[in-house]
Each structure stands twice: as C-alpha cells, then as structure tokens.
C-alpha cells in the first residue's frame, strides 16, 4: 500500500537518465588548518542528469549544503575543496578561470537559498534585482529587462507583477520572496537549478506551492534541479532520485519509490521511521523511533562505516568496511556493508510513506 501512495504523491515524470549534466566525484570539503583539517564533506560522488530532479537529504551538518555549493564553487574561506572533481556538462568546474566561472554561474546554473528573508538585497526593489541579472548577465536593455522581469514575476505566481516590481523585499511575505528568488535564479533559463532547502523557512501550504512552482519551471525549461532538504515529504513530491547524506558521505542513492519502499541503508530506514504519520494521533499506539546518539562531530575520525556507531544492525566488520556505494538494485546503491540488512520488519518505510501525504498534493499549483 505504501509504495503506491508514494508514487501517486510524486509527479510521474520519467527519468531521463542519459548524459549527466553535473557530475561530482569523490568531493572532499575541508575547514581548518591544512595539517589538521576538519572534513565536512568527506567523500561524495553524485550526478544529476539533464532535466532530472535529484533530492539531497540529510540532517543538519551532514554536508549537503556544502556539497551543492561546491557545484558553483561557492565555498568561502576558510572552507576549501580539498580533492575530488566536479564536471558540469563535461567541463571541469574546478579548473575554470574566474571569468569562465562567472559566465557559468551567470547563465547555466542558478541557486535558490534557504532563507528568503536574507537572500534579497533589502535596499533595492525586487523587480530591479531581477532586472539587474537580465541586464548584466544577458545584456538586455533597461526597457527589455523590465518587461521581461514583469513576465518572469507573473510566471512564478506573483499577483500584480507590475506593482510588485516596485516592492522592497520587506514588504513581501516569505513565500513571495522565495518566488522572487526563484525568478531571479531562473531568469537566464539555467540548465541546472540548485535549491538549498528552498522551503525550510516556509509554512507547509506555501511550501507545497513553491515545490509545485519548481516542478513546473523544471518541465517548462527542461532544467535539472538539485534539491537539498531534510524533509522526506518535500523530496517525495518533486524528485526523481534521492541521495541520502550522513556524516559527509552519501550513504544511499536511488529512485525515489525504491528508496521509500525498500530502503537499503539502515540510516535511510531510520530517517523514514522517524517521520510521524498523519494519523498517528488517531492510531495512538505507535511511537516514532529516534536514532540513538548524535551525528558525528567534524573532528571525529570514524573508522569504517560512519553510521556504525548509531546503527542497530552494526556488526564487528562494519568498523573496517569502507564507505563505498555498491549496487543493490536498478540505479540503486547503498553504502551499507551489511547486505542485505534486515530484521524481519518488512515495509519499514510504510509509516513514513503515509506521512508524506502530510503535505497536500501539489499536482496543481495551489493558488494560481
């Protein structure tokens, strides 16, 4: 039952799993002194195909934001990309010169940030901010940029775009600001949109609208999306594939349905189990299981599997196993060294899958 629910909840878009647009390989992001570095992202390999929506999920501090910022080389001092390779459409992102990198950021990649309250410049009218990117990055004239901006604002679901063009960010609600931010990031029709927790700061209804907007823009422009979230409900609604991060590693990746119905890594399963079901209050009996312990500190050196210290399936061999993603199904890979891990609780994802429906269906974008 659970499997079907999930599939219905997510927009049924076929995965165009052909040539990858973004390929991140063995990425390592470090902070601190070079001789005693703190690695926030330890070893991440992922790829986003053209037109695909990849969800990157994990708890705070798992390295998901840094991973997606790395794609744009948006890692500031004192952070640094210590090793690994990032390729965008075949080009080596880490080897780009300053102007090549700017051109790529300007036209081919867009980024939406988590906090719509600080991602727009408070002293400029929102329309001017969108028009600025059109003028600077696409070389439009002032007039053309203004007209185009009004169109873009309308397209992201801003009522009265002519009037809203003149608003300052503080005059708009969080959801509206996030729409503006999306208009800003997608103005040059980028081929990849990186959305770093775009709905975390918003309430649930607004969240659903923003996700639906992203899904629509994705199908209209054919752009790929790398969606970062810590909310399985969000991921389930719009993503084709999911990558689960823990402690600076990707622990499992696969198609969204497979991940929900048959998680192949204990951490993924534990995450799904910790999501409360909508009818939990009615049923009353079930308690959510929390994952014991704390996520690892950056300074902690964990031999073998990073999740082993908190894992209820951990075995002695886990302490020496390497964190390598192994194929466990079609386009489905897990880094769990215990395979197949199981404790006889088939369909563990069931409760969580039901909970996914907490967020209302967004096949139609509400309010448009």
């Amino acid at each position: 039952m659970s499997v079907n629910t999930v599939v219905e909840g997510a927009p049924a878009t076929p995965v165009a799993a052909n040539a990858p647009l973004l390929e991140i390989e063995r990425l390592r992001v470090e902070f601190g002194p070079a001789d005693a570095p703190l690695a926030a992202v330890k070893d991440v390999t992922l790829s986003v195909a053209k037109g695909e929506v990849l969800g990157l999920i994990g708890e705070s501090g798992s390295g998901k934001s840094l991973t997606c910022r790395s794609a744009l080389r948006l890692i500031h001092q004192p952070g640094r990309i210590a090793s690994g390779s990032i390729r965008f459409d075949g080009r080596d992102v880490l080897g780009l010169s300053g102007s090549e990198l700017r051109a790529m950021r300007a036209r081919e990649m867009g980024m939406v940030f988590q906090d719509p309250f600080s991602s727009l410049n408070p002293v400029f009218r929102v329309g001017e901010q969108v028009a600025e990117t059109l003028r600077v990055n696409l070389g439009m004239s002032k007039k053309a940029a203004r007209a185009e901006t009004v169109g873009l604002l309308g397209n992201v679901g801003i009522p009265e775009p002519e009037r809203r063009y003149l608003s300052y960010p503080h005059e708009l609600s969080g959801g509206m600001r996030q729409r503006i931010m999306i208009a800003l990031a997608t103005a040059p029709k980028p081929r990849l949109l990186i959305a770093d927790e775009p709905t975390t700061a918003l309430d649930v209804t607004t969240q659903a609208q923003i996700l639906a907007l992203l899904a629509r823009l994705r199908s209209e422009n054919g752009m790929a999306v790398l969606l970062v979230s810590h909310d399985f409900g969000v991921i389930a609604q719009v993503c084709d594939r999911v990558a689960v991060m823990y402690g600076g590693h990707i622990v499992e990746t696969g198609p969204v349905e497979a991940m929900y119905s048959a998680p192949q890594h204990p951490y993924t399963r534990a995450l799904l189990e910790s999501v409360p079901a909508l009818d939990a209050a009615v049923r009353g009996s079930e308690r959510r299981t929390a994952i014991p312990g704390q996520p690892p500190e950056l300074s902690e050196q964990i031999a073998g599997c990073v999740f082993a210290p908190r894992c209820r399936f951990a075995q002695e061999s886990c302490k020496s196993a390497s964190m390598r993603l192994e194929q466990v199904g079609e386009a489905h890979a897990s880094a769990c060294p215990v395979r197949p891990f199981a404790d006889g609780r088939a369909g563990a994802g069931g409760a969580a899958a039901t909970a996914v429906r907490v967020v209302p269906d967004v096949a139609e974008e509400a309010g448009r």
């Binding site: 727009l120 002293v123 800003l184």
Partner: protein, 294 residues
C-alpha cells in the same frame, strides 16, 4: 492563499536602507522634524547671509561699540562696533562649508575602503585595519595641529588634516558591517549570479553600509564643527578679521562680564546647530531599530 498577502504592518512599511531614509512614506517623528527645522533655518540663513545680514561682517563702527542686543543689532556689537549677528551669519557660512567638506568627503572613501577590506578579508583586511587603527589611535587634534604647524595657521590645515584621519572611523565601521553582510545570503547570491566582485561591493554592499555611516556622520559633523571653532579659538583656524564662530567667541571672551552677548549668542547658535544635527542623527538610528529587517 496567505502566502501572497503582502506584509503591510506598520513596522514592515517603514522604509529601510539608504533610500528609505528619504523616501519614507510615513512622516518622520517630531524630534527629527525639530532637528531638521533648526538645521534648515541655520543653514539657510548662513547660505543667504549676503541677503539677510543687516551689515557687512567686517564693517567697523566705533560710535557703537559693545552695544547690547537691540532691533538694530540683533546680537549686539563687539568691541570694534561690528554687528555680531552679521558676523555670525557669515561665520556659520565658513564653518558649514568647511565642516561639510571635511565630513562628507572622507565618509564615502572610508566606507569604500572598509567594504573592500571586509569583503576580501585576509591580507587586505589586515593592512587596511592596521592603518585605520593607527589613524584612530593617534590623537586627532594633535595630528591636525601638527599639520597646521607645517602648512601654517588657517583653514588649509583643517581641510587637509581632518580628512586624513576621518576616513579611518568610517572604514572601521563599514568593515565590521561588511564582515557580517558578507555572510548574508544576498551577498552570496551576487556570487551565485555571476556578478563581478566590483558589482557585488559597489552595487550591493555599499548601499547597505552607507546607512550606519550616515548616522555616525551626524556625530562627526558636530565634532568637526567644534574642532574648527576650537582651532579658530586657539588662533590656528580662521585668522582675524575673517568671521568664524570660533574667532567671534574668542574675541568676545574678554568682554564676557561686560558684553556677554558677543561670545554667548554665537555660542548658542553653535549649540543649537549641534542639537539639531544630533536630533536628526537620533531619528535616523531609531528608524533603523524599528525598520529592522536586517
């Protein structure tokens, strides 16, 4: 659809940022209006001094020495029979012109230098910060007097000396704000959008940094005005017989008991101007507190 209802609470309506200072739809609070009134009247009167002043500022009249304030001499006359009111108007003119110059020329430079230092950090920041610290640590008035000792008494010393040191405080202010702003997502977004660093700093950061410097500049303005009057009082600024508030007050000092108006009334104008600027500055920083979507 609650998401599309714009926030129109009074607090949200209040403008923030540099433009909001002037483009606010709400009326400024009363103290600010009073401040604007005082400063406006004094500034206008000194600007129009040639039209308003009843006598030429240097006209000697030995028949009417040390006259008490009356309708023919609003602020009385000094020991040479010069009309104190006319001298005050002309004096304020000199004072205001110089003070505005030495306050608002170094301000944008300081903000820019501070913004660059804060944005880039590292060695740029270290160098700029140490130079600024040195300027600030050095006693300001000693520096100005030292420069006057080189170029000779007069207003040139003030024009050179004050800007040399004044940028440093603005730079430090802007730098510390930039350190915070650099981490804000809209600054990160300028990078993500592929803007040049120059555009990020000049177009996106500086307008945000200007506000606090502008508020601080109201304090600086009064300090500079007092500095200028003080130097003239000491005989290092405006040289007699040129009219300047400091020289007028210094000249009247000897007659404080017999002809109190010579030093007191121009002094009150100076105080009133300082209070007016202070009220405006207070209003600006209050608006910042309330407008507060930082």
């Amino acid at each position: 659809m609650s998401a599309t209802v714009p926030a129109t609470t009074p607090a949200a309506r209040r403008r923030i940022g540099l433009r909001g200072l002037f483009a606010g739809r709400t009326r400024p609070p009363l103290p600010v209006l009073i401040g604007i009134g005082i400063v406006g009247v004094i500034a206008l009167a000194s600007l129009l001094a040639p039209l308003i002043a009843p006598y030429p500022p240097d006209k000697l009249d030995f028949l009417n020495q040390l006259q008490a304030p009356s309708f023919s001499h609003l602020m009385g006359t000094d020991d040479a029979g010069r009309d104190v009111f006319s001298r005050t108007l002309y004096g304020m003119r000199v004072d205001l012109g110089i003070v505005l110059l030495v306050t608002y020329v170094p301000m944008p430079l300081g903000v820019l230098i501070g913004a660059v230092a804060g944005y880039f950090g590292g060695i740029v920041d270290t160098v700029v910060s140490r130079v600024a610290d040195t300027m600030i640590a050095f006693p300001f008035i000693v520096l100005v007097i030292a420069i006057i000792a080189i170029v000779g008494p007069g207003l040139t010393g003030v024009l050179i000396g004050v800007p040399i040191a004044a940028w440093a405080l603005y730079a430090r202010l802007a730098r510390s704000e930039m350190l915070v702003m650099r981490e804000q997502q809209f600054m990160l977004a300028t990078t993500a959008l592929g803007y040049t660093k120059r555009r990020a700093i000049l177009r996106h950061a500086v307008p945000n940094l200007m506000r606090s410097s502008l508020i601080y500049s109201t304090v600086d303005l009064v300090v500079n005005l007092l500095l200028l009057a003080g130097l003239s009082y000491l005989g290092l600024g405006q040289q007699p017989p040129g009219a300047e508030l400091g020289t007028i007050i210094a000249g009247g000092q000897a007659y404080l008991l017999s002809a109190w108006w010579i030093a007191t009334l121009p002094g009150l104008v100076l105080v009133a101007f300082g209070v007016g600027v202070g009220l405006i500055g207070d209003g600006l920083s209050d608006g910042r507190m309330r407008g507060g979507a930082s």
